[in-house]
Structure formats: structure tokens, C-alpha cells
Amino acid sequence: MRNAIVIISLSLALPAALAGEGSRKAPADPLLQQECGSCHVPFPPRLLGETAWHKLMGSLDKHFGSDATLDPKTRQAIEAYLVANAARQERLGTDGQSTLRITETAWYQREHDEVGRAVWQRPSIKRASNCAACHSQADQGSFSERQIHIPK
């Protein structure tokens, strides 16, 4: 009996350990690409935690100053995908508070701390949310280091 419990706990723990903390890669979701991707880069679900995604998808009528409402069925399907593939822990802002802006999270700031202010201000980049300016495959949800080309 004890052996059975050990085997079961191992089989549950192993895949989670192999997946790596906070770096779950999710297959691209066609609905997310189509609906979120018509206005901005379809941000990968691992960039925010569950609570943040629920909050964001529950306030699409006031989406960073714009109305981004979806029909309930589509919204629920996208929300389920985002939550199922979310970061394991909430990504907090640099002030330790929760935030819905990916670019304000401590994680994002840390990942981009080597990018100088003058680079951000280039007309070809302009905004931190303009992922595709440097991440050439961002539209496909891929942010690999090898695909980074910082424009002049």
C-alpha cells in the first residue's frame, strides 16, 4: 500500500518538475491568435498568473482604455486557455502589487533590464508592449533569445 502511494505521488510530481517552474510552454491557440491578435501581439498565457487573467478577461469592456468585448462563448474559451496555461505564481509589479500590465511586472522588467532607455525610444520600437519590434516570432507566441533582432 505504501509503495503504491509513493509511486502515485512520484508520477504526479514528476511531470510538474520536468515542466519547470513558471515556464510552461502552451501550444498556440487559434482563437487567441484571432481575437486578441487582431489588436496586439497575442501575449502568451505564461506571462500572467491565473488571478490576473481572470481579472483581465472579466473587464474586456475597459481593456487598457479600449473596448475589447467578446461574445460570452469566445470569452470563456479564451479565458479557460489562458488560465490553464498561466504562470504558476502571480507575476507582481515591481512595487509588489498585482498588475494586469505584463510590461509592469517585475519579471518583465528583469528580463529587459539590459535594454537601454534610448533603445526603447527608437521610433521602430516606441512602446514596451510592441513585442514584435524585437521578438521576430512574437506573433507566433515564440520569444526565443535567438529570434531577437533589435531594430535600429
Binding site: D29, P30, S38, D67, T74
Partner: protein
Amino acid sequence: MRFLSQLLRHTVTLTLLCSTVLARAETPQQIQAAYESAARAQAPGFAASATRGNDFFHTQHGQEWTCASCHTGNPSNPGKHVVTGKAIQPMAVAANAERFTRPDKVEKWFTRNCKDVVGRACTAAEKADVVAYLISAK
């Protein structure tokens, strides 16, 4: 469990995508006619006007943005999201044959964008005028 929930989610996604594809395609003229007939419930004898639609598209309606803020002053040109910079395909039917062929898509974008540009839902008459303008724009 995770696998099951993913399978379920993918099934939902596929069903949604299929239903989008299967949603009956219409012509821009049919879509304009549907808005015109809805507008006649309020104003009998209403007829869509491309001239009024042109004015509506290019002027401010009490908010910061106009339609042209993202779609540019010439709807035959590609546009650009004023905040994110994301490319937007041309709105004029002459430049983009896919425009105004899916009623659900048209309604989705009028719902969103009218809130941003007009601060309320657009009336059927306003939608009919804008569609007429974008059908006629060369």
C-alpha cells in the same frame, strides 16, 4: 485531468472556429440593407448615405479617437492601431474584398469601436451610413 480539460478546451475552440467558418457569408450590400431595414423601424423611409457615412468616419464624436485614428484618413489604405501599432487591413471594400462579408464580425467591431469613438453603441442608421461609405470609397 489536465489532459482532459485541454482536450475539452480544444474541442470547444474547434467548434467555435468551425461555426465561424460556417456562419453564412453575406455581401456588403446585404449587410447594409439589414442595417437600413433596422433603421426604418425608428425612421420610416430611411436610406443609407455614403456622404453621411464619410462625415461620421472622419469627425470626432466627443471622444479622443475618430474612426480615422486607426483606419487613417483614406479607408483604402492599411491602418495601424493607434496604441499598439498593430497593422490593420484596409476597410474599403474596393481594397479588401473580405470586409463586410460576416455579419457577426461586423457587429463585434461596431460594438467595440463605437464605444471607443462615440462613447455609446452606434444606431442602425449610423452603421448603415458607414457601411455605405466604405462600399463606395475608392
